[in-house]
Symmetry: C2
Subunit: 301 residues, 2 copies
């Protein structure tokens, strides 16, 4: 299906399908306060590459699963990602006024509604996840496992823990180990969830799940380092955000600690290791995952 598409086209097409689903995720028939609905929709439909949902879909497809079967989890993880951005942008956190060139949620709807919209999206992610059983050819035990992993990898031991470490460590981080903890949890864990859950949707074996996890942590870290490199050498107009912001905030990053060339080498190495893990695990249809590993770091924005 669609294997003649370039990876950029594949990403665009799948992102469009995910957005179509997300656009229907808060039906007009729901009797909820209008401002809450608007605040949830605003950030959910504010664009972005939809990379995490695409990883869910690509992992399922690598095992012969369908995009439809992967869709409830794809939507769930985008809701988690979206809520985390809304809360991270709050004045008490990063205090950002703009996100992807648009005013942040609290700038439009006020802080109270932004907090509640985040809470609502986080909660609804779990609703979406329960819907996987209606579509995917899996046992209920497998659906429960997906939900359990979502709660672990998005919670205190996962994404929220990484965010907390980042918040606490601001300006105080001096070692790669601390930086790795933050990257692993703040960004890595929900990438790993996306891949493992996509695998589960298509009944992956334990060994395949481990390969997807390994792949996920490596591409997650590569992606993050690439982000930090682009912050130094990127083109502001392509990135859609100011460059050198890390430097101004005295943020400790890989390029800051290792230098730019060694960081670029680290990205290359992580990407190769990620691809090797997938190749070794014997997927039916691994091409898109392998292409995504390169796509994530071969970018200028």
């Amino acid at each position: 299906m669609g294997s003649q598409l370039t990876i950029a086209q594949y990403v665009r097409e799948h992102a469009a399908k995910v957005e179509q689903e997300l656009g229907q995720a808060i039906p007009a028939s729901w009797d909820i306060p209008g401002a809450l609905r608007d605040a949830m929709q605003y950030s959910l439909m504010a664009g972005g590459k939809r990379l995490r949902p695409i990883l869910v879909i690509a992992a399922a497809e690598a095992l012969g699963g369908t995009i439809d079967a992967a869709m409830p989890i794809a939507c769930a993880i985008e809701m988690i990602h979206t809520y985390s951005l809304i809360h991270d942008d709050l004045p008490a956190m990063d205090n950002d006024d703009l996100r992807r060139g648009k005013p942040t949620n609290h700038k439009v709807f006020g802080e109270a509604m932004a907090i509640l919209a985040g809470d609502a999206l986080l909660t609804q992610a779990f609703y979406q996840a329960t819907q996987v059983l209606r579509i995917a050819p899996i046992l209920p035990e497998q659906a429960l496992k997906i939900i359990e992993e979502l709660a672990i990898l998005a919670g205190a031991m996962g994404m929220v823990g990484g965010q907390a470490a980042d918040t606490l460590g601001e300006q105080g981080i001096t070692r790669i180990e601390e930086l790795d903890y933050i990257h692993r949890h703040k960004t890595g864990d929900i990438i790993v969830f996306s891949l493992r859950a996509g695998g589960r949707v298509a009944n992956a074996t334990d060994q395949q799940l481990l390969a997807l996890e390994n792949f996920g942590y490596k591409i997650g870290l590569a992606f993050q380092i690439q982000d930090d490199i682009l912050d130094i050498i990127g083109d502001e107009s392509k990135l859609g955000k100011p460059v050198k912001s890390d430097e101004k905030q005295q943020k400790v990053t890989y390029p800051y600690l290792l230098g730019i060339a060694p960081s670029q080498e680290k990205v290359r190495q992580l990407t190769e290791e990620a691809k090797s893990a997938i190749i070794a695990a014997g997927f039916i249809n691994p091409e898109r995952l392998l292409q995504l590993a390169d796509y994530l770091v071969d970018r200028d924005s």
Copy 2:
């Protein structure tokens, strides 16, 4: 088991068991930032009557289920309740400095950590809920149903929606219908979840689940009206919070709209209707639920 206990003793004993479980819910072995752990623990162990967990347990026991089988859901709903208090107390929301006589979460840990502790507790509630299958004698489909209902009743269509309506409506509410929407969702929905989930843990029939739901909305509203009555005529030292706060905030309440005596009559009537719903549905062991209906409104704090 323990049927010789008064209802007050039953509530105290069960609250103690729930607290013991909650005290172990964030194990020391978890590799998470210390401040996040402390912030989560602080509010989770800050006391309170643990009424929602006790409703889970009483509903399960009414159908012959055990306290052990009910415990994962009992802990899950207390985490939801706790996160909602942390977020509601934030400066952007109710801006409260004290809760149950202690400084609120953000006063101790700062706003950023309070937001994250709330997010982490909300997420962990779903982890707890998945653990029901390890203990309760139910099918995985039933566990998924519990999680689905938790996501609905705690989310945009439930508790968060009620909170949003309350936030938006401040000073603008003039009609009983608007007040009922807020009560039904802000407090009613997670009471109803507690009862239905407790029922599911003990394999309730659909008819029994409906009776539990009916009971829940009625005792939830009775509890809320009683709260508003106590705010006017209660004893500050017993309540542990200032009285007449609603009046000062010009908050529209049942006693404000109907008067005190008609509100007291409404509480009595709702409690009787709630008990009738349970009596009609043929539970094995309904006594504790019936006693709890009275207990919730026969209180001075």
